[in-house]
Amino acid sequence: MEILAQQLVNGLFIGSVYGLFAVGYTLVFGVLDILNLAHAAVFTLGGLVALWLVDTGGLSIWLAFPTAVLFCGLLGLLLDQVAFAPLRQRADSNFSGLISSIAMAIIFESAALGLFGARTVRFPAHTVSVHIWRWQDLSITSLQVEIVAISLLLMFLLTQFLNKARVGKAIRAVAENDRTARLLGIHVDGIIAFTFFISSALGGAAGILFGLYFDSLSPDMGHSIELKGLAVIVLGGMGSIPGAILGGLAFGLSEVLTVAITGTSNLRDAVAFTVLFTVLVLRPSGILGKKKMREA
């Protein structure tokens, strides 16, 4: 029983990181119908920049975290301006944008490789003070609690922002129909840029949390989460933020339980993607995805 409880904690934790990563993906997709494949590279850079700020810059992690998140947000703006904005008037902007985002991913990754080297790097010891709570055989670290709390808080704030704030409403209006939004006097390009800012900032935050917990960062760490992030938003329902969170948790739990039951990590991805496949067969729009009401 305690093993199961511990495994649920393990899954909840990794699932919330997946969720946070996938929210950024799904936000851009919901607004633009475009997959931003450079998201994983921003995730990587977020972790590495935070590490650089702590290690070389000598900042405390509580200062380095928001700084690196802000940096990733700015990367998002750059991404929009370079990879997406120039293509927006083309009829096939969905595909060309996808391709140019792959190019940006390669550029970001090479930059990370050039700046930080190919080696696995770590945060210096005691970057965050870790307290471990034990209850019978159950162990939970304060870092895990902080990471889950930060993830859930960021996701909650984002949902509130989209539902209540004026800019959030504008984002949803653009998502609904950008032409109508423009007619209503919404500055569509600005809103899209802002969406990229938030999306990338969240991706960067996920990268920092991931790096902090596993304490092992390398320029290729985005690869391990890239496909999973995609699977999570498909599972949760494309464009749905609560869906991304739920999808992330479901994915994390299925991974952890697979490893726990089989005793090997080789089947981890196989089972996770089989779950995805089954959900798609039974419910093509994902767990929380709405059926397409009309084609634009």
Binding site: E2, I3, Q6, Q7, N10, I14, T120, R122, A125, V130, I132, R134, D137, S139, T141, F214, D215, S216, M221, S224, E255, V256, L257, V259, A260, G263, T264, S265, N266
Partner: protein, 384 residues
């Protein structure tokens, strides 16, 4: 244009003539200067560059010491360092050059087992003695009777580690955790399993991970629930660091030792894991704290010369040069490769920084490995 070609042609002919003429003169020149050329094929660039760099430092230190001690008339060493770029293709070029152009007495290297499997065949065919100083994969010395190595294989280190750990901790049941998609970690796993069986230990659970995994908590949670006396881990240092950290975070106490092989034997392990590494047990070919006077001097000289402490690879390269020098001296010739080979094979109870050194009948390293435990953030000797 034509003129340039002609000049070039003459120059080439002239050079070739010189080379031919100097051929027969060579042995006399060597005899006069009493110098043995040793070729070093080390990975200075590419994936194994970190290992190659420390090997070169260790070898250079040994060469400098030997040449200083040789004085005016003694046999000196001329080291020819070449970079095999961590790939077999470049290794072949380097071996061809050392054998045919430099005409070395023998070759030390290459850094990687993967490269050795290709290059050592060339040397065997050419009758050139090779001494590997870091190859641990099976099937290297089996290539032929000219191939030697002073690097202990996992097959020797691991059974010894298990034996010593069992005695010291009174182990009965253990958990095994290994990477099942890598030749090195899988080889380590097989060696561990055999040693566990030979020592009558029960394996309560076997768990695996894959290259690049960062989250080991599901497997470690399963391991914890079986309450083993020790956890046997076959992993490289990056994964090992994650495993040790996460095991301690999950509440597996430091009194349950985590036991690893050569992959653990790096100062990076302690740096990466900090307090979590206390009580980690590592079987190794060499230990920096070994009390041998020769080893103490080596560590002090190395640190003075390069400003950082030596590691296992430096120690093995350093030892390799002494073994080679000893054999060439005993052979009484720098050009008779057969005599050098025979002298190498006869190396017996040579005092080295690794311990009393002999070759086994299979031309592998023959000396007792060391078992270390991490104590107060440092490697200490658990037993021999």
């Amino acid at each position: 244009m034509n003129n340039i070609k002609r000049v070039l042609g003459i120059a080439v002919t002239f050079c070739l003539g010189l080379m031919l003429a100097s051929g027969p003169l060579c042995p006399q020149t060597f005899a006069a200067s009493k110098e043995a050329k040793i070729g070093f094929a080390l990975s200075m660039t590419g994936g194994a560059a970190a290992y190659g760099a420390t090997q070169k430092k260790g070898a250079q230190l040994a060469v400098d010491e030997i040449n200083a001690a040789a004085g005016m008339d003694g046999l000196k060493i001329k080291a020819v360092f070449e970079d095999d770029a961590s790939v077999p293709q470049q290794g072949i070029n380097v071996f061809q050059k050392l054998i045919n152009a430099d005409k070395v007495s023998m070759i030390i290297g290459p850094t990687l087992s993967n490269t050795a499997k290709v290059t050592d065949r060339i040397a065997q065919k050419a009758g050139m003695p090779v001494l590997g100083v870091s190859n641990t994969a099976p099937g290297i010395t089996e290539i032929g009777n000219y191939i030697f190595r002073d690097s202990l294989t996992e097959a020797v280190v691991i059974p010894h580690t298990i034996k010593v750990a069992k005695e010291k901790f009174g182990l009965k049941k253990v958990a095994v955790f290994y990477g099942n998609d890598d030749a090195f970690t899988k080889g380590g796993y097989h060696a561990f399993m055999k040693a566990l069986k030979d020592n009558g230990l029960t394996v309560v659970t076997e768990q695996t991970f894959a290259k690049g995994d960062r989250d080991f908590s599901p497997q470690l949670t399963q391991i914890k629930s079986k309450k083993p006396d020790a956890i046997i881990v076959s992993a490289l240092v990056e994964e090992a660091s994650g495993i040790i950290n996460q095991a301690r975070q999950l509440g597996i106490p430091n009194s349950v030792p985590i036991i690893g092989g050569n992959g653990f034997n790096s100062p990076a392990l302690i740096k990466n894991t900090g307090e979590a590494s206390e009580g980690v047990v590592i079987g190794a070919a060499w230990n920096i704290t070994s009390a041998l006077p020769m080893n103490k001097k080596f560590v002090a000289d190395f640190t003075a010369k390069y400003g950082n402490a030596p590691d296992q690879f430096a120690a093995q390269a350093y030892t390799g040069v002494y073994i080679a020098y000893n054999a060439i001296k005993k052979a009484g010739s720098t050009t008779n490769h057969k005599a050098i080979r025979d002298a190498l094979a006869k190396t017996k109870d040579l005092d080295t920084v690794l311990g009393k050194y002999s070759f086994t009948s299979g031309r592998d390293a023959g000396y007792t490995p060391i078992v270390q435990i991490v104590k107060d953030g440092k490697f200490a000797v658990l037993g021999e």
